[in-house]
Symmetry: C2
C-alpha cells in the first residue's frame, strides 16, 4: 500500500484518545444509505446531502469518515458486495469452481450491484482516487483469487499449460464489464454460459 494515496476510510482513534467516541452505528447507517441510493438510482440520485438525510446523519459525520464522494461510494459498495461473490470452497475440480463463480458474478452484476459498480467506475473516470480504491480494494483481490483457481485448473491438467493467466482472466471477465457498462445486449446466465463454453473451446475450427 502506497501511503501517499489517500486511504479509503479515515482512521479511527476513538479508543486511544479522549473525548466522545465515534459512532459506529452512524457509520453503518451511512454505508447502508449510500448503497441503497446507488442501487436505486445509480450515480444520478447519489449525493452527499441525500445520503446524510437518508441515514439521519449530519454531512460532517460523513466527511469525518470518508474523504470524498467516490470513497463513500466505494465503501458502500464493498460493504454490500464483498460477501456476495466468494468462491465456492468445495473440493470440486478447479475448472468447475471457476465456471460456477463466473456464472455467479454475471448473475450478481446483472442486478442492482452492477448498477452500483457502473456508477463507481463512472466516478472513477473523474476521480483517480476512486478508480485506484476500486482496483486495489476490489478488482485486484478478486482477480488474484480467480488467478489462483485458474492456475490450479492448469496444474490439474484441465486447461492448456501454455496459457497466459492474465489474458484468460480478461477474456472471461472483460465481457461482463463490457455488457455492464455498454448496453449492447443482456447480461444473463445463458449468455455467460455460452461465453465460457466459447472461450473454453475456442472459435477456430478444431484441427481434425
Amino acid at each position: 500500500m502506497d501511503p501517499s494515496l489517500p486511504a479509503l476510510e479515515r482512521t479511527d482513534h476513538s479508543h486511544t484518545r479522549a473525548g466522545r467516541p465515534r459512532d459506529r452505528a452512524a457509520r453503518a447507517a451511512i454505508l447502508q444509505a449510500a448503497n441503497a441510493l446507488l442501487e436505486e438510482n445509480g450515480i444520478a440520485g447519489f449525493g452527499m446531502e441525500a445520503v446524510a438525510a437518508r441515514a439521519g446523519v449530519g454531512k460532517s459525520t460523513i466527511y469525518r469518515w470518508w474523504p470524498s464522494k467516490g470513497a463513500l461510494a466505494m465503501a458502500g459498495f464493498l460493504a454490500a458486495t464483498e460477501p456476495k461473490i466468494s468462491y465456492p470452497k468445495d473440493g470440486d475440480s478447479a475448472l468447475d469452481a471457476l465456471r460456477r463463480q463466473l456464472l455467479r458474478v454475471a448473475e450478481v452484476y446483472a442486478g442492482p450491484t452492477g448498477r452500483v459498480m457502473a456508477a463507481i467506475l463512472a466516478e472513477g473516470q473523474r476521480d483517480p482516487h476512486t478508480i485506484t480504491a476500486f482496483v486495489e480494494g476490489y478488482a485486484r483481490p478478486r482477480r488474484d483469487e480467480a488467478r489462483t483457481i485458474l492456475q490450479a485448473a492448469i496444474t490439474q491438467g484441465e486447461l492448456r499449460p501454455d496459457l497466459d493467466p492474465e489474458v484468460v482472466l480478461d477474456a472471461l471477465y472483460g465481457p461482463i464489464y463490457y455488457r455492464m457498462l455498454v448496453p449492447v445486449g443482456p447480461l444473463d446466465i445463458k449468455w455467460m454460459d455460452t461465453l465460457v463454453q466459447t472461450v473454453l473451446d475456442g472459435i477456430a475450427l478444431p484441427r481434425l
Copy 2:
C-alpha cells in the same frame, strides 16, 4: 431512429429560413476544442465554458448545436474517431481482416481516443441520452461491421460454424473496454495479439 430520443445534433435550417446563417466554422472549432480537451484531461477538464473559450465561441452557440454536455462529447468523439477505425477493405481472408482490425482498435483505444471514450462512457452512466447516442451512433454500427466480417469468416470455413456471433464479439471486444476502464494492466498490441490467439484456440486442453 426513434424520434422520441433527442437527436445528437440539432437540425440546421440556415438555408431554408431567412436571417444570419449558422456558422459551420464555429461548429468545427467547437468539435475540435471539445475533442482536444477530452484528450488532454479526460472528463475532468471538460466543461462547456472551457470548450467555448478554447473555440473562441459563445456558450449559447454550443447549446444551439448540441443539447447537452454529453451530446457534445459524443459529437467531438465521433468527428475525431470515426475515420480512425475503419475495416481494411483488402481481399484478405475474413479472419485476417478481423484480426488486423482488432489490433488496430486496441492500438487506438490505448491512446487519447481511449481516454475520450472512457469519459463518454462515464458521462453515459449519468445521462441516458449519452449512452444511447454512443451505442446507436458508434458501438452498434461498429459491432454490425464486425459481425459481418465474423460471419464471412464462418462462411469461408475459417471459424467454427456453430458459434454465436454476439458472444464471440463480446469475447473479443469486451476485454478491450475492460482494460480501458479498469486499470488492471496495459492495453497494448502484444496483449491484444495474445488475447485473439487465446480466443481462437480456446483454453481447454485440445482433444488429442
